[in-house]
């Protein structure tokens, strides 16, 4: 009977809630409940750890733990509640970094207590390395997503340099384990080395690939937590950590697949180089000129068409134009135009991000059409309005085998009768490749900031 109130039993329940929670997160109807269940399990495990601890603990330590948890909860809660939905992905990255840092700090403290016990030292050093990489990498990813670091920075031969550096870290760690050292100096060299590697690892990767990187670092942190579980013989850390490590890895691959990229390509390639060499030929294939149009022309077109499909992309999120587009959609709807949004699975900054953004502005669920459902409808559509999207409508994915995005599922915007594309400039999209859709005879380009352009359209249409 006593077992029911033991820590091991609480950990068992918590582990089950994690599995159940993750499973439920995978289905739209149960997702929210799943998250709450996992949160409840976590709370149970945390309080169990504190109150069921066997051993003498001075009040000071209890007080400190209490203060730390309260402080962390208040700050975490405030950040999570205040940050606008467009900034969600970088927030995930930020919190992921915190977890990584926590794992690294645990290793830094525990190192001296386990000198001589090879396997414990192995888990400690592993936790320090993985946690530190996850921390510094996540911080760079965070900076990239919020725009403070906006260009991929590539040192010459960065691939070889990075790999040599990683190899050096691993060899050094191996030496530390093998030599049974208790040198704090070595430990801190390793710690700062891993931090530096995390930066070097993420900094050459372009902003569009950040979701994949965050997902990968997410599973790293899971692994770091699991190593802590080994160290302390702690089942809940082990189950939670391994679960996230494995689920995170699969999720990383799923994301790569949705973007038609290989993980290898994300980490070592970057769209940049692969195309420069390959797409030379493609550039010359694109002939014709682009046609510019004005807001008033587009307004007339939209006002008198019957079916309109909006294709929102990253540019819409950057311009914070999701409220404006919703207003435009309602206005056209009231004028009898059938309006829909076609959502590419990877539209926005992360897979599913666009759905979250539009849902926030109260766009009706029925108006959001998934790619497979909407693609057959394009040929019966009068006007397609592409806002800040590029690669997801690039026909090269269908008909140019030399293109790096060849084979990626796209929205068949080119089948519509008229195509209006809003972009800030002719700059190519993330993939860094030309888009022949811009040169299509049916296409008109409407240059300008998405939000301003949409607001102009709204006032034009209102005036009609």
């Amino acid at each position: 009977m006593n077992y029911l109130f033991s820590l091991e039993f609480l950990y068992l329940i918590a582990s089950i809630t994690y599995i159940l929670g993750l499973k439920m997160l995978g289905h739209p109807e149960t997702a929210r409940r799943g998250n709450l269940i996992a949160a409840a399990g976590m709370t149970l495990a945390i309080f169990g750890t504190i109150f069921l601890f066997q051993g003498e603990v001075p009040t000071l330590v209890y007080t400190l733990i209490g203060i730390a948890i309260i402080l962390g909860s208040i700050i975490g809660w405030m950040i999570a509640k205040k940050v606008p939905m467009t900034k969600m992905p970088e927030l995930v990255s930020l919190f992921n970094g915190m977890g990584g840092a926590s794992a690294a700090l645990i290793g830094l403290i525990e190192f001296e207590h386990y000198t001589g016990q090879t396997l414990s030292v192995f888990t400690i050093i592993g936790g320090v390395i993985i946690g530190s990489i996850s921390f510094s990498g996540s911080m760079i990813a965070w900076g990239k997503l919020n725009g403070s670091i906006n260009k991929p920075i590539r040192l010459p031969y960065y691939n070889i340099l990075n790999n040599l550096f990683l190899l050096a870290i691993i060899l050094f760690a191996g030496y530390m384990i093998w030599s049974n050292t208790n040198s704090q100096l070595y430990l801190y060299i390793l710690f700062f080395g891993a931090l530096a590697y995390g930066i070097l690892f993420v900094i050459p990767i372009g902003g569009a690939d950040m979701p994949v990187v965050i997902s990968l670092l997410n599973s790293f942190t899971g692994l770091a937590a699991a190593l802590g579980g080994f160290l302390y013989d702690n089942m809940v850390m082990l189950t939670g950590g391994i679960l996230v490590g494995s689920a995170g890895t699969i999720l990383t691959f799923a994301m790569c697949k949705a973007m038609n990229r290989s993980l290898f390509n994300v980490i070592f390639g970057g769209f940049g180089e692969t195309d420069l060499s390959e797409s030379k030929g493609t550039d010359s294939k694109i002939t014709g000129s682009i046609k510019k149009t004005t807001a008033s022309d587009v307004a007339i077109l939209m006002n008198y068409c019957q079916r309109l499909i909006i294709i929102p992309g990253y540019g819409l999120a950057v311009a914070q134009a999701q409220h404006a587009i919703h207003e435009l959609e309602q206005l056209l709807d009231s004028k009898g135009v059938e309006v829909k949004y076609a959502i590419h699975p990877v539209a926005g900054r992360m897979p599913g991000h666009m759905n979250v953004l539009l849902a926030e502005t109260n766009v009706a669920y029925e108006k959001l059409a998934e790619m497979e459902d909407v693609n057959p409808e394009f040929q019966n559509t009068d006007v397609v309005f592409v806002v800040g999207a590029n690669d997801v409508v690039n026909p090269a994915a269908h008909n140019d085998p030399s293109s790096p995005i060849y084979g990626m599922p796209i929205l068949d915007a080119e089948k519509a009768k008229q195509i209006i594309i809003n972009k800030r400039s002719m700059k190519p999209g993330y993939a860094g490749i030309e888009n022949e859709l811009f040169y299509n005879q049916k296409t008109s380009m409407l240059f300008g900031d998405a939000k301003e352009v949409i607001q102009d359209l709204i006032s034009e249409i209102k005036g009609m």
Partner: protein, 102 residues
């Protein structure tokens, strides 16, 4: 090598847990629609905040005279809490939006 075999034989249950959990993780994520990738990643992110338990254990076991260990542990607990609380709250916020439109 001997040490590794020793470790496996004394911690056989942990080895089982690791292997089974890897498969549970793979199984649980299979066939999730792309729409839910972001919330799922965020939820998983919150779950690895379980590392906070390690941070708490560090503090509970620390020598109260060791000020460095206590302060590092203190920071580790704060960071771990941020990961857990922030992670779950953000995920809930995302999913709340999904619910509204239904």
């Amino acid at each position: 090598m001997n040490e590794l075999i020793d470790f496996i034989s004394t911690n056989l249950d942990m080895v089982y847990v690791v292997i089974l959990m890897i498969f549970v993780g793979i199984e649980v994520i299979g066939n999730v629609p792309a729409v839910l990738h972001t919330p799922l990643m965020s939820g998983a992110n919150a779950i690895h905040g379980v590392v906070i338990i390690g941070a708490i254990l560090v503090m509970l076991g620390a020598d109260p005279e060791n000020k460095l260990a206590l302060s590092l542990g203190f920071v580790a607990v704060i960071l771990g809490t941020l990961n857990v609380v922030g992670g779950f709250v953000v995920t809930d916020r995302m999913l709340e939006m999904f619910k509204k439109k239904k």
